[in-house]
Subunit: 564 residues, 2 copies
């Protein structure tokens, strides 16, 4: 529904909005967003569904010419939706008539189409919809829809003259996608916070082994969250949840600001918004999806059980790295944007920057930064190291593509690395800014948040150490000091870990986890679920494969066989 | 069943074997392995279940004193098993009598215990068993079992004198565990091969986007496996499947050889077997589990669907990094073994080595190796680089723990890194050896396998570049050349990718994947599953939440409500 309603809101003209929005808001019209086809997802220009304009009837004929043009993966379409935004190639007659018409293709455009009867909910004639298995629907085959079905805020077709007016800024069609990506970025922090809450709480309750180096025999076993090998998996994710939080917030603000400018006719910031939302969507959903699984595995056997609450969270979230732009694909969009910015600052050396990305590139070109920033001891130096690495990679890619003219595809891995580096810089920047600007925070709390900022940043540097080294952002000696520093930070954060996740106040009802209970009664809850709640334990199963009875003593062996 | 039967085979004395094995092999006795408790898994010494020897009755009293001592996660125990190997603390009276008896704890021992009636399959008196939810059972509470229940191949208790004889080599109790770990290592390659087969086949069928740099308009879209960002995720895993194959084979051989020596009373190689199986279990199950998910995500939207076949494979396999020793935990066992070896070669500088691990450490100490091996151009240099890094990390850890006496827990992360480095060296060694010894292979095939060897090794070096650099195994300049070399290797392997996975000949029936079909009819299969096979599409659901009817036209709205 969310892409559907956003598309109507952003791409429909005023008359269309006035007609559709009340119906949508009252849930009379339930809509799907039907862009992806069996054969094409990432490549939207490659969609096969055709919308041919018929100038005599003044309507569009929607037609799926091939098997691979079947709409696929369109959420809600299979069973629930009665309407859909259907994305199709807009074909307008250029010459000839009837069978001999030659069409000009104006590329993919969104149309709003009714797919099911409003009373019987049966598919309309010529439309086949259904569930695709574990996920949703496939749709229109051959259908006539009126001129008003084409959403026309930016692109228009004059029904009388048949003339097509293309949007002033071709990027506006990405508006809804940008909105959904921004939302996904804001959502990632919530999901990761759930996983981290469960892990931090359980791992501070779970005790395993006495300390090998401790004297005496009577010491309690160690809470596993005290082991550095448990900390190194979970505490950086605690820090990541905060990093995602501040950038989620910043992303929301940026979207609202840019959207207002666009509505006012100013498209200047759209490209930056599109790049930021794409890069962060890719990075943040990777961090969250991988983070859930890391938390789950860190919890040992009980993490694998239904009582952990993370099994379902994991499966639910795993679509996010793919939907709304595959995480690897969309890093190309970020790289292309950055190449343009690098070209801009390289050619217009003196003009002033329009945004912070350009600022950073200009600073790099001026070369007015110290090298080997003191990342181990200085919070601002950390930020500078991330900025330098991002700028370094930007120019490296720019030179390969624009100066040495290397082939686009041979650079894809570099594009991906660049997008990650750039987006990590954004996370670090927003985290850093939040700590600078948040003045009504207690000194104590601020020191802990600073440690989280350092832990997030330094772990990231450690994982990508060669890029930082090659960029001249850190020295070999500094890299050698990282592990020790990270160990120290984790030791300092450990005592605050439980209070920090408790402060998020995620209700037990939402967590739905025996391991993540606020009151820590983990074992009682696990036992209760197994012993009292599990309905499987009410019957005794027959393990003897030679007889037909399934439940011992039911005497129904023969009957079951006869059903086959 | 596998741990159960292995434990009886390896830990039972001859009389016990003669009694139990026929019953087990005829599936009369169905057994579980019940070691883990609600409160303890990794820490086996910390188990709470007690087996108290009663010298007057000549039997053991098994007793679970606490909630956390409930047996938990014991496969098959919940519904199917009628017997179990139960691991309990062996308590033997030392002084006093009756209530005042003082016991001596001889640590965890395996007992074979009947848990359900052989006819009615009801739990025996004093035993509560059931399913724990998404996984299995919890078991004995308070039970008397005969003296013969204690498996006594190595440890024995004289029923008359009450004297306990401990095993000559304390490590023999790990025998079954080692067997199961070796099996897991051999299994990992099969699982990864399935995922890689599906991914390589589908990604060579899937086409998306025309080449940006290609001239003309009529070119076919590019098969996505031609994109380096797809290759970099999937082709190293193709190479990994081969690496796992050769080490799986070597692991099986090592196990059989060592087992024979142990049966003959020679325990010399047991410690090495235990370390190798632990390190490889940890590394290989990580590689396979993460590899499945990487393959799944690489396939975009269709990878997320049931038709991919990887969703189920993934969930099934995800227990492996945890069971039979948590993957992070058991790296400590490898590190402890290596510290002992380092101590041995440091103190006895001139004695000859008993195995290849010691050989390698001695070579390192002698310092007779060139530094900065030519890994980009020489297959044997690659092996030497892995050996050097493993030896470097071994001595680093040895010095920290044995010389500088740093605390055990502060070194856990280093232990983990060491175990990985050591196990990666084993993978590379076995891969390298296989290429040397396999003489009846065509030149053509051997060249392709060599490329896979290089791809696996160089990708590993790239991921752990700082360790190789710090160990003096590669130079900065060599590291700079890695990405380009990896790109070239992938380009060379790409045309052979489909034939290579086809050669594994995994049947379509096993893969159960529309995307991984041998004949490549991906879209037809997806459409068939959705359109013809999906039963959901036979009814029309009612999307209107204001009415009670679920299926449109069924008229049963009122009835459903009245059932609540
Ligand atoms: C749960 C779920 C819900 C969805 N809901 C909707 C919906 O409501 N409406 C809708 O229209 N769609 C929906 N989709 C579809 C989704 O938008 C697409 O699956 C997604 O955009 C990825 O496209 P694809 O599946 O074609 O992947 P592909 O493009 O086929 O990707 C396959 C692989 O090829 C790589 N690749 C492709 N092109 C290139 C290239 N040029 N360079 C390098 N690598 C490349 C990708 O990175 C990926 O690894 C949904 C999908 C899922 C899984
Ligand atoms: C599907 C499944 C099937 C199973 N089948 C059986 C079975 O048939 N029979 C049976 O007896 N058991 C079975 N088990 C239990 C399994 O063997 C244990 O879950 C496993 O050994 C891990 O132990 P744990 O759960 O106690 O983890 P924990 O030890 O609680 O681990 C929790 C976390 O603490 C860390 N940790 C613990 N101790 C230390 C330390 N000293 N230093 C550093 N880190 C530490 C671990 O790395 C992990 O991250 C099964 C488990 C599963 C999931």
């Amino acid at each position: 529904m969310s892409m559907f309603i956003t598309t109507v809101r952003e791409q429909a003209n005023d008359a269309q909005r006035a007609y559709w929005m009340p119906k949508i808001e009252s849930w009379e019209v339930i809509g799907a967003y039907a862009q992806t086809e069996l054969g094409h997802g990432s490549n939207v220009r490659g969609l096969e569904l055709e919308a041919k304009w018929d100038p005599t009837q003044k309507n569009f004929i929607l037609h799926s010419p091939t098997l691979t043009s079947s709409k696929w993966w369109n959420g809600t379409l299979g069973r629930t939706a009665n309407h859909a935004i259907v994305v199709a190639q807009l074909l307008i007659p250029k010459s000839g008539a009837g069978q001999n018409t030659v069409y000009e293709n104006h590329g993919p455009h969104p149309f709003i189409v009714q797919v099911r009867d409003m009373k019987t909910h049966q598919p309309l004639e010529g439309i086949v919809v259904g569930d695709i298995g574990p996920k949703y629907g496939y749709a229109p085959m051959d259908n006539a829809i009126p001129h008003s079905a084409m959403l026309s805020r930016y692109a228009q077709l004059d029904p009388d003259s048949g003339i097509y007016y293309k949007p002033k800024n071709p990027n506006v069609v990405y508006g809804s996608l940008t909105y959904v990506r921004a939302n996904i970025v804001m959502h990632a922090r919530l999901v990761l916070a759930r996983a981290v809450t469960v892990a931090v709480r359980y791992l501070s309750i779970r005790r395993q082994f006495k300390d090998r180096d401790a004297a005496g025999d009577s010491v309690l076993e160690t809470a596993v969250l005290d082991y550095p090998t448990v900390q190194i998996r979970v505490l950086p994710l605690l820090a990541t949840a905060f990093a995602l939080h501040y950038s989620g917030q910043a992303m929301g603000d940026l979207y609202q600001r840019t959207r207002k400018e666009i509505e006012g006719g100013d498209f200047a910031a759209l490209a930056d918004l599109h790049s930021t939302s794409s890069g962060l969507k890719s990075l943040c959903t990777d961090l969250a999806a991988n983070g859930i699984e890391t938390c789950r595995r860190a919890m040992g056997g009980h993490g694998f059980g239904g009582g952990s609450g993370l099994v379902q969270l994991n499966s639910d979230y795993l679509s996010k790295p793919t939907v709304e732009g595959d995480n690897w694909m969309i890093t190309q969009q970020v790289a292309r944007y950055l190449i343009k910015r690098a070209k801009e600052v390289s050619t217009n050396k003196t003009s002033s920057s329009t945004n912070s990305t350009e600022d950073n590139l200009r600073r790099y070109l001026k070369g007015d930064q110290r090298l080997a920033f003191d990342v181990l001891n200085d919070d601002t130096a950390i930020l500078h190291a991330f900025q330098r690495r991002a700028a370094y990679l930007t120019f490296k890619v720019y030179e390969a593509r624009e100066v040495r003219k290397e082939s686009y595809n041979s650079l894809l891995i570099d594009f991906h690395k660049l997008s990650r580096a750039h987006s990590q810089m954004i996370l670090v920047t927003n985290f850093h800014n939040a700590l600078q600007s948040n003045h009504n925070m207690s000194h104590f709390l601020k020191e802990t948040l600073k440690d989280l900022y350092r832990l997030f940043s330094l772990s990231t540097i450690e994982n990508e150490s060669r890029e930082f080294y090659n960029a001249g952002a850190v020295s070999n000696e500094q890299l050698d000091g990282l592990s020790q520093k990270i160990l120290e930070l984790m030791k300092r954060i450990r005592p605050h870990a439980v209070p920090l996740v408790d402060a998020w106040a995620l209700p037990d009802y939402l967590l739905d986890s025996a391991l993540g209970r606020y009151d820590g009664r983990v074992y009682e809850d696990l036992f209760n679920r197994a012993h009292r709640l599990n309905p499987l334990n009410r019957v005794t199963f027959n393990p003897d494969y030679r007889t037909d009875e399934i439940v011992m003593g039911s005497g129904d062996g023969g009957q079951i066989l006869s059903k086959l």
